[in-house]
């Protein structure tokens, strides 16, 4: 198992997940909102943004990409590259844009934006699953070492 795929900064832009969103931290009160303000998602020209990967973009400080919801998690999904078949089920159904797929390959998880919902684990078709939930504080290498064996089909 390569350690790179568990890299916490995998495919990350410099300013990904800077501000922890939680308990109002970093947010402003209703009476402090600037009325009529335009919040730009990017610094500078955003032409052709659909064709740029996250790591090539210049996100502005207003883009929620620069915030983190990591503190919402109790359990985290851990990815096992050795079993994955790159079907991209996890990519299409992750509600938090947190599956990092590049060039048809599933590379890993964006732990700044993953909320630990476990949807990716549910939709993963491999046996054993290539994604499993572990305690948020579990060590990644230990989690991988504890991966279950292939499950036999239950006889009905």
């Amino acid at each position: 198992m390569s350690v790179e795929s568990q890299d916490l900064n995998l495919c990350a832009n410099d300013n990904r997940g800077q501000l922890q969103l939680g308990a109002g931290a970093g947010l402003v009160g209703w009476d402090e909102v600037t009325q009529g303000i335009v919040l730009t998602s990017f610094n500078g020209d955003a032409t052709g943004i659909a064709n740029k990967k996250a790591e090539e973009r210049t996100y502005s400080e207003f883009n929620s990409y620069t915030a983190s919801v990591a503190s919402w998690r109790v359990n985290k999904p851990v990815f096992n590259r050795d079993i994955c078949i790159d079907c991209q089920n996890c990519w299409v159904w992750c509600p938090d844009s947190s599956i990092l797929s590049r060039d048809k390959q599933m590379l890993g998880i964006d732990y700044d934006h993953c909320k630990g919902c476990e949807v990716c684990v549910e939709v993963c078709p491999t046996n054993p699953k290539s994604l499993l939930m572990f305690n948020e504080h579990a060590d990644l290498d230990e989690s991988l070492a504890a991966w279950p064996e292939k499950k036999k089909k239950e006889k009905k």
Partner: protein, 317 residues
């Protein structure tokens, strides 16, 4: 239009998300699955508006935006009004040649919850459809006013418990039937209306692409299971959507030019609605003996509707 490939999920996954994380939707919320799919099925520039609701409040937590596109929010009822105004402005400026890039393709999309679509924004949506703007309206149908604590809407189905249609000793939850929004929108003469579901990602992406491509006002109702108000485990959002489409509680179909109805998903072995209901807390009370008749009533409605859809498909009317 710059359609992106949806041949298979591997190709689809080469798209770069334009909907960013650290929005504050609940873990497992289907709203963002649907929004991501819409935004990933095209490379065109998008101008998007949202009605008030979970999607809007969660993706615009001041001073943040989760949208990598132009995005506008005005009020509960007027996503259709604001995005069609932008569409008219774009048309006029294009004619005058005053846009930064006159040839760049732009698509106009509005998102509304069922509360704002079926009820409070209904006349504004109807007006925009009638005026015939070139835009796509997508309803995120979670069958309740989720953002304000789960009140009943005219999209709430019979028998569901909501905070304003409560189940108890003398009540089985909501009494009235769900409004048939798809037929109502088709009756506006729309070139493309459909009901789609996120578990069937391919028919959903295809439907979105069709709606974006077709000129004129298009409407799509999407099933958006809400783990918080429907009361199920967030990890089961897609499993539950499977039960919704396999029980035909949410048939997947499209209507082209108000008459050409195509069923887009035919479950090989349809399951009973009971199985779908049993997976959610909002229907728990229906399993008491005194409310058994409600389940049977819902099942009969589903069977009748499925029969009608199949007959309409065949008759092309």
């Amino acid at each position: 239009m710059a359609i992106t490939s949806i041949k298979n999920l591997k190709e689809f996954s080469t798209n770069n998300d334009r909907f960013e994380g650290a929005h504050t939707l609940c873990p497992g919320c289907a709203h963002s699955m649907i929004v991501r799919e819409l935004m990933n099925c095209t490379d065109d520039n998008l101008v998007i508006s949202s009605n008030t609701g979970c999607l809007e409040v969660s993706t615009a937590v001041y001073p943040f935006t989760s949208w990598d596109t132009s995005w506008i929010h005005i009020g509960f009822e007027n996503a259709a009004t604001s995005v069609t105004a932008a569409q008219v402005m774009h048309k006029v400026r294009k004619k005058k040649g005053t846009l930064k890039d006159n040839d760049a393709p732009v698509k106009f999309v509005a998102f509304g919850g069922d509360g704002s679509t079926f009820d409070i924004g209904f006349q504004w949506l109807s007006g925009a459809m009638e005026r015939g703007h070139d835009f796509t309206y997508i309803c995120l149908d979670n069958e309740n006013y989720a953002n304000t604590g789960g009140q009943r809407s005219s999209a709430t189905p019979v028998g569901a418990h909501t905070s304003t249609a409560q189940a108890g000793t003398h009540s089985y939850g909501k009494k009235q039937k769900k409004k048939d929004i798809v037929s109502i929108m088709a009756a506006h003469g729309s070139p493309y209306v459909a009901q789609l579901a996120p578990n069937k990602w391919k028919s959903m992406a295809k439907g979105f692409q069709k709606a974006l491509e077709v000129e004129g006002p298009c409407f799509i109702n999407t099933v958006s299971p809400c783990c918080t108000e429907w009361k199920f485990d967030p990890k089961d959002t897609i499993n539950l959507t499977d039960l919704a489409t396999d029980s035909l509680m949410f048939p997947i179909y499209e209507i082209i030019d108000s008459h050409e109805l195509n069923i887009l998903y035919r479950p090989k072995n349809p399951i009973k609605v009971e199985e779908y209901m049993a997976a959610q807390g909002r229907y728990k009370h229906l399993f008491k003996p005194q409310y058994r008749h409600v389940i049977d009533m819902v099942q009969k409605d589903i069977d009748d509707k499925w029969d009608l859809l199949q007959r309409r498909e065949e008759a092309r009317l």
